[in-house]
């Protein structure tokens, strides 16, 4: 796939046929639930998970005992057995923990969808619960000192002992190459966080609700890991979110308009690690996002112009903007110009993005909040509702094994 990416030629002869895809149009997201997103929940992650899952079950019009599958991705501190012991789900027959960290933001839905499409389970609950603001923040440097005198794996040994300990740093290296090669300016970068903050002002559940930010505020915010400023980086969140996946057939008897999965994709390319994609011929683009986009368009039989609204996994502004390029919403290297002024990604723009505030301004719920917003756009219940949404796209994180889904009415 690296070769296909370099040639910018997505082959179809080495992919399964679209007809063989059991997920397409057969599986839907039927329930969404979340807790409050706060800076200090004062509760356990297990506790938060129970509430979010109960909310998703109620939203779908199901009973807790209907849930027979669970799915999340790695780096989860919940114990699934204790979650089952708390929820009292008596018939769990499928569980999955996908690799790839934030890249698996949508892969979790992909695997859950595969499970219901192939009869492994009827109702799979995808869950995430975090106390990242008050408790343990992922990827903080000082954790490594306390708990890890030796790098976790051989490959981490080449980067961690150098003080190179956070995803913001790992991504900053390819982000800087992108800025360098395409003359992307700091001013341009700023429009992504500024527009997302505008969206958050209409979303009372967003972390930054009631706290607007101008482009000037952005420019004046402190540098965290140069080239990333404070407001280029995702917020810290305490909270939980969950959604429930079942077949379109079963969805007919449930409460909500189903968000039908028109296409789903996952990509684990070569020369890939935790954002350290440094041995690829070019590191100023994202093969995994490009591949996921191409696959989504192939399976859903559509193109970027058909997508009405997108939720792009943006742990940092650069990661969001490069995805605009790789998904074909603008030309390669044009992402900076595309977001300049913000209109293209606003609600009436070419492609409204992260309409609940995204990971920068709504919550860093590891992408669960993006999936939930993608579903709301299909249902017509978003706080920033885009008109007449037919196709709603959601992606997983950049620079790691990534994933995506296209939802339709």
């Amino acid at each position: 796939m690296l070769q296909e990416y370099m040639d910018r030629k997505y082959r179809t002869d080495n992919k399964p046929s679209v007809e063989a895809n059991l997920i397409k149009n057969n599986v839907a997201i039927v329930g969404i639930g979340q807790t409050q997103y706060t800076k200090n929940s004062g509760r356990d992650e297990l506790d938060l998970a129970c509430e979010a899952i109960q909310n998703a079950v109620d939203d779908a019009g199901l009973k807790m005992s209907d849930i027979d599958g669970f799915d999340t991705f790695i780096l989860d501190r919940l114990s699934l057995p204790m979650l089952i012991n708390s929820l009292g789900t008596p018939n769990v027959r499928f569980s999955c923990e996908v690799s790839g960290g934030g890249g698996a933001g949508c892969a979790v839905a992909v695997h859950a969808a595969a499970a219901v499409a192939t009869g492994q389970a009827d109702y799979v609950c995808c869950y995430r619960s975090l106390n990242e603001a008050s408790g343990h923040r992922y990827g903080r440097g000082d954790d490594f000192i306390e708990y890890m005198p030796v790098a976790l794996t051989p490959n981490y040994g080449y980067i961690w002992p150098l003080g190179f300990v956070t995803p913001l740093g790992w991504a900053g290296v390819w982000g800087r190459r992108w800025m360098h090669e395409f003359n992307i300016t700091r001013e341009q970068l700023g429009w992504w966080p500024v527009v997302l903050r505008e969206y958050a002002q209409n979303n009372p559940e967003a972390t930054y609700f009631g706290r607007p930010m101008t482009h000037e505020d952005y420019m004046e915010s402190p540098m965290i890991v140069d080239p990333l400023k404070l407001h280029d980086c995702c917020v810290n969140t305490d909270g939980a979110a969950a959604y429930i996946i079942t077949t379109v057939e079963r969805a007919k008897d449930l409460k909500q308009t189903p968000a039908i999965i028109a296409a789903s994709a996952q990509c684990c390319p070569i020369e890939q690690e935790i954002q350290t994609i440094y041995q690829r011929p070019s590191i100023s683009g994202l093969v995994e996002t490009w591949y996921v986009g191409q696959e989504l368009y192939r399976v859903a039989e559509c193109g970027p112009d058909d997508i009405d609204v997108a939720q792009l996994y943006d742990p940092y502004s650069i990661g969001g903007i490069i995805q605009l390029e790789e998904l074909g919403f603008c030309e390669r290297g044009e992402g900076g110009k595309f977001v300049e002024g913000g209109d293209n990604i606003r609600i009436d723009g070419k492609i409204p993005c992260n309409t609940a505030g995204g990971l920068l301004s709504e919550a860093y719920l590891h992408g669960w909040n993006l999936v939930i917003e993608g579903v709301r756009q299909i249902r017509g219940t978003s706080y920033n509702q885009v008109k007449d949404v037919e196709l709603s796209m959601v992606t997983g994180g950049p620079g790691v094994a990534s994933s995506g889904i296209i939802l339709r009415r």
Binding site: D44, L46, Q54, N85, G88
Partner: protein
């Protein structure tokens, strides 16, 4: 016999990575005060061990805590002839005690050799300060 510890080794602490689950805090606070506390669902009365944030029977998130009598019976046990962790000196037994209230709890025995253990043996709780920041509930033969 009592479990003996190697003084230079740290006994695994329930607050893994320095974090004690909030739903478990009343249990460990109780142990500090020489009591076994059991979580009880306010809605259906279900008794739960280990503690958890939601009742698996009725999905209520409201609960209260009761003090167990501290008596029960040996339900099962294993004997470690080799220590699986450097803090412990083998041989010693880990017992599963069924409390009179119903829930089962994992513990160690005080003043009972592993070879003298029997399923159904009546036991009662005692508390041992095993480290500066850790008290554990243990059991001895009743009566």
């Amino acid at each position: 016999m009592t479990v003996e510890y190697n003084p230079d080794q740290k006994i695994p602490h329930p607050a893994m990575w320095g974090v004690l689950y909030k739903s478990s805090t009343p249990f460990w606070e109780g142990v500090k005060n020489k009591k076994i506390m059991l979580q009880k669902c306010k809605s259906c009365g279900n008794l739960l061990n280990p503690p958890r944030p939601m009742c698996p029977k009725c999905q209520s998130q409201e609960n209260e805590w009761i003090t167990a009598k501290g008596t029960g019976k040996i339900y099962s046990w294993v004997t470690f002839n080799e220590a699986p962790h450097p803090a412990f000196k083998a041989p010693y037994a880990a017992v599963l005690v069924e409390l009179d209230e119903g829930p089962r709890i994992v513990s160690n025995m005080v003043d009972v050799k592993p070879e003298d253990l029997e399923i159904g043996m009546a036991v009662e709780v005692t508390f041992e300060d095993v480290a500066e920041d850790l008290t554990l509930p243990k059991f001895r033969k009743a009566g």
